[in-house]
């Protein structure tokens, strides 16, 4: 079955309902980005040391990653079904002990530094592997993101691709009200990055934008997304950063994504 954002959304809703956990809106926001990555952009199997690396820097959307690993054939259904249970490797935030997860994350601002190190390692080792790092927009509040951005540009890490999930909201409010991010694309450009503005829900456009990136300065896709994408009553609603679904909401959400 081809990996699609809608396919990932189905798993995200199933699993978050079964586990009764939140972060649903954040996971729905990045479903199409992960579908693009795991639907053909990332090269190499999880056990190949020369595989492309992926860092889910916005670790709280790990459920979208688990769904993508599942649809890519790296995570069997019975393991996916352990999400957020006792004795699972599939916690709310991703852990590198799980095959297919290169780096553990959960604390924002650490993914891009690790990703820059991984990209530098690939260059030093003469490898063509690339490193993709998915950040949340509010994660750009963290100073360490910009430390890594400066380093990557200085060393022209063209094998590093950051994707910023620009959904305009963070845990307690809209980014424009908490810490304004604009002009976000200009900020990345000023830091020396090759900036691409993309519709974060157009899987084909995302895959196309990422396909040829491997040289020059580091690349960033500013992916314009809608928080909670696909479920109208979650879209752009702050409360769906944390809230789990009740039975009625769950059924309504499934109808909306066509399940």
């Amino acid at each position: 079955m081809p990996i699609t954002g809608q396919g990932l959304r189905r798993h995200i809703l199933h699993q978050s309902k079964r586990a009764n956990v939140g972060h649903i809106g954040s996971a729905l926001s990045v479903a199409d980005i992960l579908a693009a990555l795991y639907g053909g952009v990332l090269r190499g199997e999880p056990d190949d040391p020369d595989r492309d690396r992926f860092v889910m820097s916005k670790g709280h959307a790990a459920l979208a990653l688990y769904a993508a690993l599942h649809m890519a054939g790296h995570l069997p259904q019975d393991v996916l079904d352990t999400f957020s249970r006792d004795e699972t490797l599939l916690g709310v935030h991703p852990h590198h002990g799980l095959a297919g997860v290169d780096f553990s994350t959960g604390s924002l601002g650490q993914g891009l530094p690790m990703g820059a190190g991984a990209a530098l390692a690939a260059k030093l080792q003469g490898s063509r592997r690339r490193v993709f790092v998915l950040l949340s927009d509010a994660e750009c509040n963290e100073g360490s993101v910009w430390e890594a951005a400066m380093f990557a540009a200085h060393h022209q890490l063209g094998n590093l691709v950051a994707i910023v999930d620009l959904n305009h909201q963070q845990a307690l409010g809209y980014t424009k009200d908490v810490i304004a991010l604009e002009p976000l694309e200009d900020r990345w450009r000023a830091f020396g990055w090759d900036v691409h503005s993309v519709d974060g829900h157009d899987q084909e456009a995302l895959a196309g934008a990422m396909a040829g990136l491997s040289a020059g300065p580091p690349h960033v896709l500013v992916a314009h997304t809608t928080f909670g994408k696909g479920v109208s009553f979650m879209e752009s609603q702050i409360r769906w950063h944390y809230m789990p679904m009740d039975d009625q909401q769950y059924l309504a959400a499934l109808v909306e994504i066509g399940d």
């Binding site: 604390s107 530094p113 690790m114 820059a116 190190g117 390692a121 100073g143 360490s144 200085h154």
Partner: protein, 288 residues
């Protein structure tokens, strides 16, 4: 590989000249340095990351925990000038809690060599450690602890002086003062053993218990706060093993946030010179 956060003038050049392809000045960005090292180590490299001790440990502490520690990767964190070696530079440049926070992490190997010869041996002896290591280095390579001869073994202590009356345990270059105190006490008729404790984690518990067995006075000497350093470690061993030895912890008891001066001046402020240590111990020994 060697990464520095823009420090190490007149110290790192021999490496950067010899191995320019393996040397990176990452700029004044310690958090990023730890993240970079994590990414490099995941790919099979062994990065040493260098800064002044507080900048290497306290600033990027969470990055160290979530990166090299959580992923169990061989990143070597090198903090130079532990204690108050940066004298007149003041508190911002002191590391008086670095051993405490580092040894709080079960997976972190913590090494505080007493001189450059022991540091060299410690780096060689720990080359095969799969997880991260924190090296707390002194910055003065003129310091040599007599009798130590560069000995180091992880999980062990190094005894450099025998004696029946008290056992003195020292962490870092202040071991020179501890040894000096033992010599001053010898002239006053007290015979004290001296041990260098350079491997703090994993704790050298068996060696410490053996050293303290049957003794009435144990003394720890360190340029570190009372909480979490060598004195704490020895207290843990003494308490957990139910040993009946009196423990005197010679360390830094208050925040040095007011007057500053040279390293020696600062250490004297906290009673850590050989003369002051000998005097404090003589009082304890006389009272036993």
């Amino acid at each position: 590989m060697l990464l520095t956060a823009d420090l190490g003038f007149m110290a790192l050049e021999p490496f950067s000249d010899a191995f320019p392809g393996r040397f990176f000045n990452v700029g004044v960005a310690e958090q990023n340095m730890v993240g970079l090292a994590t990414g490099l180590a995941e790919a099979g490299l062994v990065p040493f990351i260098y800064s002044i001790a507080p900048f290497a440990t306290l600033r990027p502490y969470e990055f160290i925990r979530d990166g090299p520690l959580l992923h169990n990767l061989p990143v070597r964190v090198v903090g130079v000038g532990g204690g108050m070696e940066y004298g007149q530079n003041g508190l911002s440049h002191y590391a008086l809690e670095d051993v405490a926070v580092m040894r709080a992490q079960p997976r972190m190997t913590v090494v505080a060599p007493a001189d450059h010869m022991q540091a060299r041996q410690a780096v060689l002896a720990t080359a095969g450690v799969p997880g991260p290591i924190y090296f707390r280095l002194g910055k003065d390579d003129a310091v040599v602890v007599p009798g130590l001869d560069g000995a180091f073994e992880l999980g062990r202590i190094q005894c450099i002086r025998d004696g029946a009356d008290a056992a003195i345990m020292a962490m870092g270059p202040i071991a020179v003062e501890a040894l000096g105190a033992a010599e001053l006490l010898a002239a006053r008729g007290f015979d004290c053993a001296v041990a260098v404790v350079a491997g703090l984690n994993p704790p050298p518990s068996d060696d410490l218990a053996m050293l303290l067995s049957g003794r009435r006075l144990a003394v720890t000497v360190e340029v570190h706060y009372a909480n979490g350093g060598l004195g704490s470690l020895v207290a843990e061993v003494v308490a957990e093993r139910g040993m009946g030895v009196r423990l005197l912890r010679q360390c830094v008891r208050t925040m040095p946030d007011h007057l500053v001066g040279s390293q020696r001046y600062m250490e004297r402020m906290f009673g850590l010179s050989a003369e002051q240590l000998a005097e404090a111990m003589a009082q304890e020994l006389a009272a036993l």
